[in-house]
Subunit: 433 residues, 3 copies
Amino acid sequence: MSDNDSIGKQMYRLVEELYPICRSITGNGVRRTLEIVSRSTPMTIHEVKTGTPVFDWIVPKEWNINDAYIIAPNGEKIVDFKKNNLHVLNYSSPINATLPLEKLKEHLYTLPDHPEWIPYRTSYYQERWGFCLSHNQFIGLKEGDYKVVIDSSLSDGHLTYGEHLIKGETEDEVLLSCHICHPSLCNDNLSGIALMAHLINYLSQQKLRYSYRFLFIPGTIGSITWLSQNENTAKKIKHGLVVVCVGDPGAFTYKRSRDGNAEIDRAVLNVLTKAELSHDVIDFYPYGYDERQYCSPGFNLHVGSLSRSTHGCFPEYHTSADNLSFITADAMEESLNTYIAVMDVLENNKTYINTSPKCEPQLGKRGLYDSTGGTHTNDKNFQMALLWVLNLSDGSHTLLDISERSEIQFSTIKQAAAALCGTDLLVEASPSG
Amino acid sequence: MSDNDSIGKQMYRLVEELYPICRSITGNGVRRTLEIVSRSTPMTIHEVKTGTPVFDWIVPKEWNINDAYIIAPNGEKIVDFKKNNLHVLNYSSPINATLPLEKLKEHLYTLPDHPEWIPYRTSYYQERWGFCLSHNQFIGLKEGDYKVVIDSSLSDGHLTYGEHLIKGETEDEVLLSCHICHPSLCNDNLSGIALMAHLINYLSQQKLRYSYRFLFIPGTIGSITWLSQNENTAKKIKHGLVVVCVGDPGAFTYKRSRDGNAEIDRAVLNVLTKAELSHDVIDFYPYGYDERQYCSPGFNLHVGSLSRSTHGCFPEYHTSADNLSFITADAMEESLNTYIAVMDVLENNKTYINTSPKCEPQLGKRGLYDSTGGTHTNDKNFQMALLWVLNLSDGSHTLLDISERSEIQFSTIKQAAAALCGTDLLVEASPSG
Amino acid sequence: MSDNDSIGKQMYRLVEELYPICRSITGNGVRRTLEIVSRSTPMTIHEVKTGTPVFDWIVPKEWNINDAYIIAPNGEKIVDFKKNNLHVLNYSSPINATLPLEKLKEHLYTLPDHPEWIPYRTSYYQERWGFCLSHNQFIGLKEGDYKVVIDSSLSDGHLTYGEHLIKGETEDEVLLSCHICHPSLCNDNLSGIALMAHLINYLSQQKLRYSYRFLFIPGTIGSITWLSQNENTAKKIKHGLVVVCVGDPGAFTYKRSRDGNAEIDRAVLNVLTKAELSHDVIDFYPYGYDERQYCSPGFNLHVGSLSRSTHGCFPEYHTSADNLSFITADAMEESLNTYIAVMDVLENNKTYINTSPKCEPQLGKRGLYDSTGGTHTNDKNFQMALLWVLNLSDGSHTLLDISERSEIQFSTIKQAAAALCGTDLLVEASPSG
């Protein structure tokens, strides 16, 4: 990795490297993925035994696969896992048989609406075998006997996930969670993995108020497993985001937490709105990715999900078209920067006290009018930010409240608070740490 | 009454039978009306003596009428109560006299804007006599002496009303109230009487959580009388609707209760919205029908009013054009079904507890994915309803809350809750009965 | 002053008389202004010594000026304070010197966008001297030496302000505040001075529930001085308005108090909305006139600001074009009447109790139906107002609440409450006085 590359290009290259690996909810694909990410990003790898009860569920068998293919009646290998791992029904049980076309068809999955694309299909909780292929290939299949081989195994083993904690001044945590169980799909969710890795690298170099917990987990069963084994830790989580589909160049989508107007919801919307990033906002609903588990009523964590195009709503979703050309380095870098801006709001969203609350203090004699001459890009805005911070710092407004009410960017409000803290006029309400 | 007829046709036929009767706030017209309804619908008839004090009012004299007409100078009977009882000013004092046209005109009421129609006019609390006629007839009247006869009586007697209580599991009551004091007007309010009769018949055959109280009363003085004599019973009323103008084919109108967002208001709007019935919603105002009394500040009951066209806002209102051709069997049946759907929401609007609130439970192993195969019309909706009920059943959301937030029909939410109660996943929060 | 003149014309004439005086935040211009207003309006004149600490500020030196001019190289007097006092930088330090054009230009202020107008500029807290002139004149200046004379003085003295209190039944106060520090500018704020003077005259003749405090003060330093020296009195202020820019014929602008939905905010908006006066509403922001001080977090008084065109938003603002032709007698009179209507809402916004809250009382027997025959312009509205007042007078709604909910003019609601108080049906909840 060249240090001269833009962050976006580095993210893209990580996705490129991870793309060929066949992942599932368990197995060596996940292990290999986490190893690669670990090379440049610190992480602890956890292994949880098959059969471990996790709330209403049980950790499933480990799935591994060497090869899978179909040989046509004419001897040609027409569907080949080694060319694209989407060809095998993910978590497929092993098979080695010869079947007539009619029987084979019961195990084939296609996308008639997108006849060039291979669908991504899974069968985790019902033992099945199957192949996915393009609809064009499917309709060309001739009568005859087909040899099918899936050289996979389902056996006792482990569920593997990665975890990293950056300790901040307080034990209060921000959770960032991405699913790592999808095979060769880029936006969903190699983009999320790459963003999390680079966010770890970035935040590790900052002085932080919150502790940040990163989970690289298989979808659903992974978050259930983690929550089941970390109930006390979960209580420390004050804010969180599920990181998915952050690589395509579409508009942002923010799905609110179950509570709907939690600080994380307001922080994300503040960033998207003030930065004038085009975006949609959708209310929480109990479907989607791991926010379903974090927002289950027994936890009700303040966890939302910040994506680009919404999963399930773009045609490439869960198909072979979610490939390396569907995502861009620029989009990934913009997504990362947006996450960083959200974390910046959380980090700095404190409450201050105006120590001179009766009438306005004289800013001129403290050099706060002068200071606006050249150091700030938008002087008038900065001047108004000073007045807003003074006016609302009565102990019942955070900087996010002030940014929302004044309609001034959070970063400007933060700068104004910092400038005022440099005088005798403003102090933090109850300093953390 | 043929059992093969649709409910709407049965309702229409009841209106037809009641239409010719001359009703007023007291007297034999009301008694005859209640007798006819009682033939197929159980009801207790109450008689309250003239002169009984009821809050700020006094039960008025009983009014009865045999005949009324005007004889023109040429000897022709030109206005005849026996042809249309709207011709007499309702509650008119008796008269037998001969007057010149000029004097007579002081006692005549017409509708210049609808010259073919006879208006409906009353004078309950000021003794007067008068006739109502079409404006066309009025302008054709020639000079000369007219003989006027109103063979009515105003004397001590009783105020008559009907009442029926269906006992449910709890003493909490739902009130349904219609006024029965209008003479030959179909929509206002024979349609309300017919709807209430059939709603009694329907609910009598159900297992009910609430008790249902039905009042067939003269407008204003009737509800004042009932409330005055049943103050303790009134405290049991948790929800209620005033049933008026439910027979015309116009859009629905819902007038909110005084509190504005009571459970009855939300239940009605849920039904109208989710069923995509075109409708208007109007805020409470202290005018209209008996909701004025139920929502007076000393009671402040949660009583709204669900109509088709709003009283006072359709041209036929309080005229001879509110006749048998203004209402339809279909509209009445749709109104009845809408009332039934509202009662269904009230009956089933309970709070449940997800007994497995940490992460989602595994629905598949309980057959709740399978169950969606063919038994529900809208499978995906049902699946989402299961997830919503689980997610929000934390003890602080009723099924109506869940329907509103999920935007899924209440009936689907109810089905989902029932399916989950059939497993180990959901229990009622505090079972009634 | 002729008594036959309209109030608007009297207001206009007061502005005419005050227009030529050169005012500043201190000095004889302010004294002369208050003397003139005092001739017809009672007021106490306060003098606060230079150097007095007032919160974070210090009362500044007194500024007085006799003359100021520029003599061109050709001997012509080209800029003359005696022709227009805007020509001198307000609060300018004295100077008597001869300078080349190049040096002079550092002390000249113009408005390139409005080349005919003289700008209004000040330098209160940094000692400077300067002249303001039209841009057209500026670009005609020729090279050479200019003689500049500013015969002003900055010396220890006093800050002068006027105050008047009208005592009402209670000690609770309504504050009205206008700045008096601007020189020859009509809308900003001689119009405010004239409105306050006439509002004093009007309210002095009324029986009042509230006490009314009027402050005629220099902007910023004046309100800071008053608040600093009257902290206990400030606690009595329940409602208030800053009176600025009330003379131009533009639409009204209401700037809310810091709390945003205080009674004063609702009262002003009720008047503007119900009277169908075209208006804009803007939320509080910590910039503008003396509401900045009254709404500082240490006081947080419920003080808004009711203007015509918003200060800073009309091109004539702070220029010589804000002159006697920019304002009109009619606009000032309409502004005054609007202020009076707001005070009328505050005075009468009481809570009443319906003494007959169970069902509607019989209005007819108390003559309240008859009374509607001819005495009220809008009978139906008055009838509805009676019903609304009865329905909502349960102890938890004020007349303003009732006006807002019923969408009936406050004045009609007030009349209805008065009529009901004349019967046995309504009493004041907790009478003041």
